[in-house]
Symmetry: C2
Subunit: 411 residues, 2 copies
Amino acid sequence: MNEKPMRPFRGLIPLEEAVPLVMRRIEPIERTEDVPLGKAVGRIVAKGVTADFDVPGFERAAMDGYAVIASDTYGSGQSAPANLKLSGRIYAGGNASFAIEKGCCSQVATGAKLPLCADAVVKVEETETEGVVVSIFKPVYPGQNVSDSKSDMAKGTEALLECDSLSPAKVGVLAALGRSSVSVYGKPRVAIIPTGDEIAKVGSELREGQVYDINSHSLEALVNEAGGEAAVWPITKDDHGTLRQAIADAARDCDMVVLSGGSSVGDRDLLHDLVCELGELVFHGVQIKPGKPTLFGIVNGRPLFGMPGYPTSCLTNGYLFLYPAIKKMARLEPERFRTESAKLSRRVVSTLGRHQIMTVRVERPECGVVAHPVFKESGAITSMAHSDGYIEIPANVDLLEEGDIVKVRLW
Amino acid sequence: MNEKPMRPFRGLIPLEEAVPLVMRRIEPIERTEDVPLGKAVGRIVAKGVTADFDVPGFERAAMDGYAVIASDTYGSGQSAPANLKLSGRIYAGGNASFAIEKGCCSQVATGAKLPLCADAVVKVEETETEGVVVSIFKPVYPGQNVSDSKSDMAKGTEALLECDSLSPAKVGVLAALGRSSVSVYGKPRVAIIPTGDEIAKVGSELREGQVYDINSHSLEALVNEAGGEAAVWPITKDDHGTLRQAIADAARDCDMVVLSGGSSVGDRDLLHDLVCELGELVFHGVQIKPGKPTLFGIVNGRPLFGMPGYPTSCLTNGYLFLYPAIKKMARLEPERFRTESAKLSRRVVSTLGRHQIMTVRVERPECGVVAHPVFKESGAITSMAHSDGYIEIPANVDLLEEGDIVKVRLW
């Protein structure tokens, strides 16, 4: 399965080129699994479902009232009711394996199976009962107030199609057919490999010069939110042999591999070289701020992302690259970010030639929506956590003025 | 905790009154639980989190380059570099417990702790190295290319507030503080009690006059999608003693009780009477189609819904009543249905005095968006499963013409 390394992209490529280069290499998951109905909502149907019997499967009363032979009611009216003999009573789910004879009727509850020979139901409101005599004040035609046996689904109907997303109603369709489980496409398994000596596992003691591992956790949350299944690796040392082994294991066991860290020059080169060695480097370096050192390649046929080590860079690039890639793998609709127009609260300076992602906080005073830039530096996870979304400043724009209208993409 | 029955609402009430009557009685969950970071995304913070140390906690290099004493670089330029002695090398996470002396510098990687006495970093691009001599071609000011020790969070900062919804970035903030778990509000536990002899458990054999239990499964999916935790009861017989016990158990163990079934006159009266007996009936009967027999009450302080037995009626009323109630209990933002304007594909007749919910399929040909009514009958789960959303026809409208513009609320 290993592909030979191709000539890597050198230099930075624009964001508008980088995203399609990724998306072109993402294949939807083919693996399927059976899940019980209780876990099925939001999953994608792997195999169409055909109704193997009629639903409800019998003629049933659509109203509370009396099952009759319609012709017995013809000509009846307020002053000249048809008087029928009450010859039975059928509750929903009750026994209906008897026939009514001409001149007779049977009390039925909504949803109850009609007795044999009955072909219509008279609503209880249009009757009066005394002892075993039921007076009918309005005629019914054959089939009136009756649901036929295929009214919900006829045998052979394609009830669910492959790739349907299972809404609560579609889960209901499976239940109507008596299915207790359903075959769905597997969730993309995404390996997250944190690297570097400068990060420590949450809950442990920090050594000198260390900070806690943030990216594994924020990426894990992002992967799960996008519809994937994150598998977080232990923190991996930045040496050739250890990292090579971790990447090879992850590309064997998972559908996608994400490395976070390797933000220093030496580490970046290490990952770059390893991807060339093990597979194909597609690009390394995007004209985007924050997030320049983002890397994308293919190892063992699996997409591999090298994310910047700084938490904000890592997470914004997660939204730009990982999120849509996971959605496509999972056959889910690409997430539509909600957007909102807002006035910029202050002048913002950007770098020409770099597409800038700037986190903003949104306020909604009476005079309209205002976006406050909250970007601190790419290391500052708080700037992202306290933001409501982000604005983009294209590579050819170096300045936005206070009061400019911007489009905020809300998290 | 049992409240005395109040005078029940008799007769149908309009939808616009029914929804606020429900929402007024819904209280957010007070119960809290600790969850690991990997399960935290989307949950609501129960207790604000304050930073108990500075993050990153030390001065670190914001660039790859050389840590210097800034004043050693003053006056340097392209033609007159400052030549410093290379006296060390610090990797990210490496040992930095040495001082540099005047006239010396230390190589540093991005994210590495600065050595003692150093107060700036010169980018590697502005230097040249020969042996142990580093030539600096541009002066730096104190603090340049250095992240200070509180740059992400200062000790004492309110990092997360109570009721924050945990986004991937907010999960990252917890990780930055070394927390491996977080206290969040409990998910609303919703008991779903299917009732009636006419329904059978999925996977079992159908007896005469039975259909499979659809509502437990579609409601379970809806509850879980809304952010609750569904607990499905076994199918319960429609007799006074059995149903009374099931309701009492559910109202003791869960935060909300939902019954589905009881669509026939007798069963409806049974639930009505039981709710009056065990607690307070708030309303029974809504001017809405489908879904008229919807019931709402309070038992043991817990909201109780009696949903119509027919699958479509049950599920549309689930969206109208249960969904927002669960969101409020879970302290989640009320779901904003996406809406879309569309042209109606055919004339639709409605009933005056009944607010009608009509499921539609949406097509998007070149000439604009078209809504096709797909409503079959309230028993037909397929009509709902094959729809993309619904339109509402107010109680005072009895006719919509082909070509009328309608607002579709998409599932």
